[in-house]
């Protein structure tokens, strides 16, 4: 693998205990700083792929390297330290509703803190300033002291992006970040993700259902169908018809 590759996925297969194949011999490499859209039907294996990359679940066969490290060998503290460098954005935002925006954003930093400091709820001045900057980045600073459950869906996702920025991630995995948002809000959230990529030079992988958004924002598009990689091209060279094929192919 070359030095510019941040992620290398080699012949990865995931078989669930009930026998269903989530991923079927998938291989691809990701260069540092790429913005990649992963498209495919629900259940095609997109989420499984993401959850394998940050070891939220184990794969059955194959290897995943991040920054040259074989992640399947990590455990305990090493695994937690590895996860600090990988941000994850969820469709359901996963904020703690009863806490303020500030506390939610700061919690993104918790992997860098000792357990006892967390129990006392102590954060450094530097991290509090960092939280302010992260929120400013996504235009949510005015909500700093609001409770998370008072926000709209799009605002919640922005806060979740600010929380991820606190990790200073090398790689961001956004698992259907706009699937529960309206088109206009989706556009805004996608721009924030794109900013992560352009301003912070993070590598971003995003699961999408919208062909238009994939073509508009991504550098490169990867298509997955039935756990297999069926498409992998630069976005500039992809056409809407190509992407329709990812969804509809295999039915003939």
């Amino acid at each position: 693998m070359s030095d510019s590759d941040i992620l290398q996925v080699n012949h990865v297969t995931k078989v669930y205990p009930n026998g269903i194949k989530g991923l079927d011999d998938i291989s691809f490499n990701v260069k540092r700083g790429e913005f990649i859209a992963v498209v495919g039907l629900s259940g095609a294996g997109k989420s499984t792929l993401f959850r394998s990359i940050n070891r939220m679940q184990d794969i059955t066969n194959g290897e995943i390297f991040i920054n040259g490290t074989d992640i399947s060998k990590l455990k305990g503290k090493e695994l937690r330290h590895f996860r600090r460098k990988i941000g994850m954005i969820f469709q359901s935002f996963n904020l703690v509703n009863r806490l303020t925006v500030q506390k939610n954003v700061l919690s993104g930093r918790v992997g860098y803190y000792s357990t006892w400091k967390t129990i006392l709820g102590l954060y450094s001045k530097g991290d509090k300033e960092k939280a302010v900057r992260s929120l400013d980045h996504v235009n949510m600073l005015k909500k700093l002291y609001d409770r998370a459950d008072s926000l709209s869906g799009g605002q919640m996702q922005r806060v979740a992006i600010a929380r991820t920025m606190m990790q200073e991630p090398d790689l961001v995995l956004a698992d259907e970040p706009v699937a529960s948002l309206d088109p206009k809000t989706s556009e805004g959230v996608m721009k924030d993700l794109r900013n992560l990529n352009v301003k912070d030079h993070d590598t971003v992988l995003v699961n999408l259902h919208s062909i238009d958004l994939a073509l508009e924002f991504a550098d490169r598009i990867i298509g997955i169908r039935d756990g297999q990689l069926v498409f992998d091209k630069a976005a500039a060279q992809s056409t809407p018809d190509d992407l329709k094929e990812i969804y509809e192919g295999g039915n003939s």
């Binding site: 940050n54 939220m56 937690r80 330290h81 590895f82 996860r83 600090r84 990988i86 941000g87 994850m88 969820f90 359901s92 935002f93 996963n94 904020l95 703690v96 509703n97 009863r98 806490l99 919690s107 993104g108 918790v110 992997g111 803190y113 357990t115 967390t118 129990i119 709820g121 979740a160 929380r163 991820t164 990790q167």
Partner: protein
């Protein structure tokens, strides 16, 4: 014009046959139980006059007796607060072990639940009677009784709350490299703290009520005075004990309801 066919229900469903049968069985069981236990409803009617006599005597409370029961009354409330607190301290870790949605094996929560079920089957009065034999007469026994009773009740209420939490934030924390303790502190506790406090107060309420009768078996508190005055047929004093108990429970209820509303 085409009309869609209305779905048909079977005869059994249409006339709620199953429900009717269950109700019939329940009525038969009720009547049969009355017969076996020798419950005579007419006794209730014929002895109602006796009730009037008792009320008559009680309606002249001997307020001077109040000075005797002030200390045991305070002791009763203290026993309840101590017992509930001690029970809660042990119940919190037990609830985390028994909750099904947290990351641990079936064996752990299965065993925990079984143990907690056993604790809950013991009625507090029975528990007190046994503990009096072990620790002797006095408020210590009452406090231990209430602690054990609270432990059983609170751990169940708490693990049920735990099972309703949104695990999404916990997943987000895990994905950002948090340890299990950090996840509990930042993603779980903020979601449950309000309800935990509310259930704590509710258990306190229940305990203040039940601690007034624990004295009956010698476990300290006001119950002893209730027993003594009844045994001596001093119903004017019994009335004071009952009214004091009633007032205390009322105050605790109002206070705890107020605090619980504030927590919502």
């Amino acid at each position: 014009m085409h009309t869609s066919e209305v779905p048909r229900r079977s005869f059994v469903k249409k006339y709620h046959i199953k429900g009717m049968i269950v109700i019939a069985i329940l009525i038969v069981l009720f009547l049969y139980s009355l017969k076996i236990c020798g419950v005579d409803p007419s006794l209730f009617v014929s002895n109602i006059a006796q009730f009037g006599v008792l009320i008559g005597q009680m309606s002249n409370p001997d307020w001077s007796y109040f000075s005797f029961i002030w200390d045991p009354l305070v002791q009763t409330v203290q026993m309840a607060i101590l017992g509930t607190t001690i029970g809660t301290i042990f119940a919190i870790p037990a609830a985390f072990l028994a909750a099904r949605n947290l990351d641990h094996s079936k064996v752990v929560h299965g065993t925990s639940r079984f143990v907690l079920d056993i604790f809950r089957t013991l009625p507090s009065l029975l528990l007190a009677a046994i503990l009096v034999a072990i620790f002797g007469i006095g408020p210590t026994t009452g406090t231990i009784t209430l602690a054990i009773f609270s432990f059983g009740m609170i751990s169940k209420l708490f693990y049920e709350v735990l099972e309703t939490v949104d695990m999404g934030p916990a997943e987000a924390m895990k994905a950002s490299g948090a340890s299990i303790i950090q996840i509990i502190r930042l993603a779980i506790i903020p979601q449950i703290a309000g309800q935990f406090c509310s259930f704590f107060l509710y258990t306190l309420e229940v305990n203040v009520r039940s601690s007034t009768v624990l004295g009956y078996v010698g476990a300290g508190g006001l119950g002893l005075y209730l027993q003594q005055t009844i045994d001596e047929f001093n119903y004017s004093e019994t009335a004071v004990v009952i009214l004091a108990t009633f007032a205390t429970v009322l105050v605790i209820d109002i206070l705890s309801n107020y605090l619980r509303r504030k927590l919502q």
